[in-house]
């Protein structure tokens, strides 16, 4: 008996390790990204240029950072609809801190991140302790944040004209200073750094492992003595931190906090997560997938724009891509089962 089980043993796992869950989907997503880049490069000589690639990366940064946070929440089996407007509220709070209270820039940044974190904490509390379904709880948070951003800013944009160097946070280029000509904006670096940190948190830390456990089977995790409510709050708060960072990035890029902006970003973030192969039913997902998903969306928009496809049609195409991505995931799952 033992012998057969051993004989069965080693071989399948070694084969399987290449086909870890989610791997194929990521390969598909990555392959599609490459394919898109190749197609657009052939279609237009303006596409594969340093300046355009930098433009694509820059336009990915804000949605990308939002999507990183959304990945955490979606892996718990939840959803966060509030990230768009909470991002705006964070931007407004940063502006209020720097321009109205006259605090140093770093304090403003802290205020922005804390605002995001606090909103995440409240959403997390509502979802876990109050047992409000994530869709509803974060819908409420979306409206609260939207309203607060308008109230606090007095419905007018908050400008950072007096804060020297604030725009450099997103648009300056540390890399360009070190390697002349390689002027990749800081926003892109921040996005990649956030992705790396997010990936480490998700795969190498306690909260990451609990995140998957809760998404995989919340009740079983609870009955294993995992304090599910506490960890959910932590996870929503982490997502809030990413949202706050996105708020700073968008404020810095526009050199102002626009209180009316923000709604709609949450859906783009969710789309990026889903294209990246993270399952909306929870328990499965990766940060690298989300990064690729976000890049696919901006490559698509950028490429279509270069080919002079009207903006309305770009949205239609992105919609179809979401269909395709999720259907590919379902096909893969069927095969796996």
């Amino acid at each position: 008996m033992k012998k057969t089980s051993l004989a069965l043993g080693a071989a399948p796992t070694r084969q399987l390790s290449i086909f870890k869950p989610g791997w194929l989907q990521q390969f598909l997503a990555f392959g599609s990204l490459i394919a898109l880049v190749v197609i657009f490069s052939f279609a237009s000589e303006n596409f594969f240029k340093f300046s355009n690639i930098v433009g694509i990366l820059l336009s990915t940064a804000v949605t990308g950072v939002l999507a990183l946070g959304a990945t955490f929440v979606i892996i718990t089996g939840g959803i966060d609809l509030s990230v768009g407007t909470v991002m705006t509220l964070s931007a407004v709070m940063t502006g209020v801190s720097i321009s109205f209270w006259g605090t140093p820039i770093w304090v403003g940044l802290l205020v922005g991140v804390m605002t995001g974190a606090l909103c995440g904490l409240v959403s997390g509390y509502a979802v876990s302790k109050l047992n409000i379904p994530p869709f509803i709880a974060t819908l409420a948070m979306m409206m609260i944040a939207k309203g607060l951003a308008l109230v606090i800013s007095g419905t007018k944009p908050v400008y950072f004209t007096d804060a020297k160097g604030f725009t450099d946070i997103a648009l300056g280029s540390l890399l360009g200073d070190i390697i002349p000509g390689f002027t990749i904006p800081n926003a892109v670096l921040i996005f990649f750094a956030a992705a790396i940190i997010g990936s480490i948190v998700l795969t190498r830390t306690l909260v990451g492992r609990y995140n998957f456990a809760i998404g995989s089977n919340e009740e079983a995790a609870r009955l294993s003595g995992v304090n599910v409510n506490f960890w959910k709050i932590v996870i929503y708060t982490i997502a809030g931190v990413f949202t706050g960072i996105a708020g700073i990035l968008i404020a810095s890029r526009l050199n102002s906090a626009q209180p009316a902006l923000g709604q709609g970003y949450e859906l783009e973030a969710i789309a990026a997560v889903v294209i990246g192969g993270t399952s909306l039913s929870g328990g499965k997902g990766t940060i690298i997938g989300t990064v690729i998903g976000a890049l696919i969306m901006s490559v698509l928009t950028n490429g279509l724009r270069i080919l002079s496809v009207p903006q309305e049609w770009q949205t239609v195409v992105v919609g179809f891509v979401i269909f395709l991505a999720v259907y590919a995931d379902i096909l893969r799952r069927k095969k796996g089962a």
Binding site: M1, T4, S5, L8, G9, A10, A11, P12, T13, Q15, S17, P21, R204, T205, L206, V207, G208, R209, Y210, F212, A213, S216, N217, E219, A220, A221, R222, L223, S224, G225, V226, N227, N229, G283, K284
Partner: protein, 503 residues
């Protein structure tokens, strides 16, 4: 006996490198109850899934009523008259009995525009009456007992004019009385010429209800025998191909001693009524009772999974407040749910995560997890508990029930829990693995762990427990030392209703 209804021959099936079925055969005649037995992983359910069109065979022939057939999907099987009743029932709890039976083919009126509920209920009444069942067509399925729900499934199958009915562990969730009801229904079907495949681990039932028994082992066909010409021992030895661990009765360990857990006056709604008991070190306390006696509820309440209305819990003489499972775990209590897939383990995650999940904090320094330590500890668990798995990276859903259970035990041992609550520890586990789990429980008690074991199988209770707590309708009706204890005595207390107690 009658002619062959279904004949499967030379069935081959491969799954991703695993040879699941090796030239298997199976024959079902009309008007017989044909038991299909084998350990988990023997290939019984794969075989039946091929017959019902869930899986496609790689090779082999299926003949139905004498002619070869291809069964492309479950619909095709249903059309032929082959239906499977799964362990997990496929009913919509919020719909009525009639609505469930006629789902997808509701009688209509006015040219199909409106539902004709009257006609549907009438037809359902007729079907229910045919089977001598006392169920209202308009009753909500969620209001029925599990046994009655099962009857509804059977009636639904009959209404499709099924000639072959496959029942997977039909008695797993039933009490003795309910099993009698089920058997009466089965006998009626048999008399009407329906062929029934009966998959079960319970030997006593097979002996009673089946005409023939086919044994499978490791994906291969072993033999088909007439039930009345064989013995349980012979069947079991064909199934496992090895000797079974057997012990007369439980031995009290030397470590038996101090009270580690005491429950005082626990109450929760109508399910737990003034329950008090003590659990000692090194003891296996069996909890016996019929389904619905409140045993699982008591276990869940002690573990903090459900809240209590009143009562106190003492751990080693100290009063503790247990408001949530993580409080209980901190006090060293581990709970093994009766429903492993839903509550017990993370089936989509790997063995090592499941072993470590209750004690992840220990494997993390400043929240940074040490993958290699988790791996080492889980490999140690796999080795110690003899979990059959290719590696600790295997996902739990690919393990058999017995091995999943061992992984869950490993989870609590890793967490250093010394009070373990086992709720139906061997449900859905095949006989060979059962005795391994028994051995494991014995040795855990001998090492000084304290165990509460809930079981609906009385032989299991008698085999394992040092002491037996009997419950009925939310109350503890007896607390008995297990020396010379009989099933009859336990049943006596398990059916002692409140009126009788006060009389």
């Amino acid at each position: 006996m009658n002619e062959a209804l279904v004949t499967m021959t030379g069935i081959e099936k491969h799954f991703a490198g695993v040879h699941a079925l090796k030239g298997c055969r199976f024959e079902l005649r009309s008007g017989e109850v044909h038991a299909l037995v084998g350990e988990n992983g023997a290939g019984k359910s794969t075989m039946m899934k091929i017959l019902t069109g869930v899986y496609q065979k790689d090779e082999g022939e299926i003949a139905y009523k004498g002619g070869p057939v291809q069964i492309a999907d479950t619909k095709a099987a249903q059309k032929l008259g082959i239906t499977m009743i799964h362990q997990e029932l496929n009913l919509a709890p919020d719909l009525t009995v009639a609505q469930n039976i006629f789902i997808g083919r509701e009688p209509r009126s006015f040219g199909g525009l409106f539902l004709n509920d009257k006609e549907m209920n009438r037809q359902t009444s007729k079907l229910l009456a045919q089977m001598n069942l006392d169920i209202e067509p308009t009753a909500l399925v969620s209001d029925l007992t599990v046994a009655k729900q099962q009857m509804v499934e059977i009636v639904k199958a009959i209404s499709y004019e099924s000639q072959a009915l496959i029942m997977d562990e039909p008695t797993a969730a039933l009490s003795d009385n309910e099993i009698e009801e089920l058997f009466a229904t089965i006998e009626k079907l048999r008399a009407e010429g329906v062929g029934i495949v009966y998959i079960s681990h319970r030997m006593a039932e097979l002996q009673r209800i089946s005409d023939r028994i086919t044994v499978m082992r490791d994906g291969a066909y072993i033999d088909t025998v007439l039930t009345r010409e064989t013995t349980v021992e012979r069947i079991i030895s064909m199934m496992v191909g090895r000797e079974l661990y057997h012990v007369e009765g439980p031995q009290l360990a030397d470590s038996y001693g101090e009270v580690v857990l005491e429950a005082r006056g626990l109450n929760r709604g109508r399910t737990i009524k003034d329950v008090s008991f003590k659990l000692r070190k090194g003891e296996i306390l069996g909890m016996a009772g019929l389904i619905g006696a409140g045993r699982t509820e008591v276990a869940r309440a002690i573990f903090g999974a459900d809240s209590l209305d009143s009562g106190e819990i003492l751990i080693r003489g100290k009063r503790v407040r247990i408001g949530a499972p993580h409080d209980a775990v901190r006090e060293g209590i581990g709970y093994l749910s009766e429903d492993r897939k839903r509550y017990g383990c993370l089936v989509d995650m790997d063995v090592k995560t499941n072993v470590a999940i209750a004690s992840l904090g220990r494997f993390a320094r400043f929240s940074w997890m040490s993958g290699s330590r988790i791996e080492r500890v889980s490999e140690d668990v796999v080795e110690r508990l003899k979990v059959k798995t290719p590696s600790v990276h295997q996902r739990l859903k690919n393990l058999s029930g017995g091995n999943q259970q061992k992984v869950i035990i490993g989870k609590w041992l890793t967490r250093d829990c010394d009070i373990l609550i086992f709720d139906e520890p061997t449900r859905g586990i095949d006989i060979g693995a059962k005795s391994e789990i028994y051995k494991l429980l014995d040795s855990l008690a001998a090492q000084g762990k304290s165990i509460i074991m809930i079981s609906s199988e009385l032989p299991e209770v008698l085999r394992l427990s040092h002491r037996v707590l009997v419950m009925c309708e939310g109350r503890v009706t007896a607390d008995l030392m297990n020396d010379g204890l009989t099933q009859e005595t336990i049943m006596h207390y398990a059916t002692q209703r409140e009126e009788a107690l006060h009389a």
